[in-house]
Assembly symmetry: C2
Homo-oligomer: 242 residues x 2
């Protein structure tokens, strides 16, 4: 089973204080870019892989989605998500996405935010998801960028001239990366961009849009601490369709 770091008390405590936990979608820097990639959600049956607190599930219903299934491995995240809505159109289920099981042709749209980098067997998940979507359905996802995940020391460094640099190494060496973020020993699965995109294609998806999020000038003016994000991408955003 995938490491369930979100049910680690220290991690959950730290995570619950992040902007994206307190403010929801508006607290996520990459949300405007992701939102721009969404189809019209009205009337769609939506599945959210790694729904967390359910912010996107509730958003989808506000946009008129017919029904939403939110899946997550964390009991605590799901408990919080359930406490935040009484909408009968949203269903939350605890699922280990490493062994995803979905009925065929049951959904018209899939979404996944910052979740798939925890999955070791992504080919299996994508194949199940492809079967679960009707032809023509869109799939919008974000994932930690491989450039962000790859390095032995994934943190800013300074070069001989005092310039801020991202010390990239091991980019092509795929597999586990263990970092200390909110808690010790968080395990993620590093894949190159090429591998990730080709896995999507092999699973039957057609790529519509690939974006490596970086802040606009206006966003940097409003959040000067976001400027380093232009030096290396943190989030990879992908739009595809079945």
């Amino acid at each position: 089973m995938t490491q369930n770091i979100y049910d680690n008390p220290a991690f959950f405590e730290g995570y619950s204080q992040l902007g994206r936990s307190v403010e929801g979608l508006a607290g996520a820097a990459e949300w405007p870019s992701l939102r721009a990639m969404l189809p019209e959600l009205k009337g769609l049956r939506v599945v959210d892989l790694g729904c967390g607190y359910g912010w996107f599930c509730r958003y989808a219903r506000e946009q008129g989605a017919a029904e939403v299934l939110g899946l997550d491995v964390s009991e605590q995240m799901l408990a919080r998500a359930r406490s935040m809505t009484s909408d009968a159109g949203i269903r939350y289920e605890r699922t280990d996405l490493e062994h995803l099981d979905l009925p065929p042709a049951a959904f018209d749209f899939a979404y996944s935010s910052l979740t798939l980098h925890y999955i070791a067997d992504l080919a299996d998940l994508l194949s199940t998801l492809h079967r679960a979507l009707l032809p023509g359905s869109r799939f919008v996802l974000s994932i930690e960028h491989p450039i962000y995940m790859a390095p032995t020391r994934p943190d800013w460094a300074t070069d001989a001239e005092g310039r801020r640099i991202w010390p990239l190494d091991r980019y092509s060496e795929e597999g586990e990366r263990t970092t200390d973020w909110l808690a010790k020993g968080v395990v993620k699965q590093h894949r190159t961009m090429g591998t990730l995109l080709t896995l999507l294609i092999r699973a039957g998806f057609t790529l519509d849009h690939v974006e490596e999020w970086s802040p606009t000038d206006a966003e940097i003016a409003a959040h000067p601490d976001w400027a380093p994000e232009r030096d290396r991408p943190m989030f990879l955003l992908i739009g595809a369709h079945r």
Copy 2:
């Protein structure tokens, strides 16, 4: 017009001594990966954008391509290419790819090796190429990887623990990059992977395969100096179809 660095005497002299110039396709580390992405070439009308010495044009004819058009901006490269064949099925033309002009529906396959990073208006080139290909035609290309092109100092560095790192910065700042490689002041156009892939999609291509070349264990055993290539990708290989 795109900088024609290949007709710079110092550059041409240095370039002509590279393995890929002396040995041809077999001297290019990424060739086995690119070759694996090719369709059956027999009977196809092929266009090669940035044909250089014409190694791929001659290969395509050996594989049975019906006719091959090799385009390059460099008179010297084309002169060398013409001197290496008397095959009437290969035609070489001097072209500034920045202002590509091709007849519609005239080709069944397009190839471009390490050329498109010199082009400023890639949307225009891709749109012209798309029109020039029959529906279903494949397009296989390589390009310098954005991770390789982006940094202020695109060269290996050492971190505080003595580890070899690639000092990435400015990844999301697209535009010109000027480096000294074989000659001073070589101008390339940096785009993120997201921008490049989305430009291909917008031009009407469907992505089939995305690969960031890195050496296999066997290749590293044969060429120990290739090992650093696993720390950051140098070549991006893309297979697509119209």
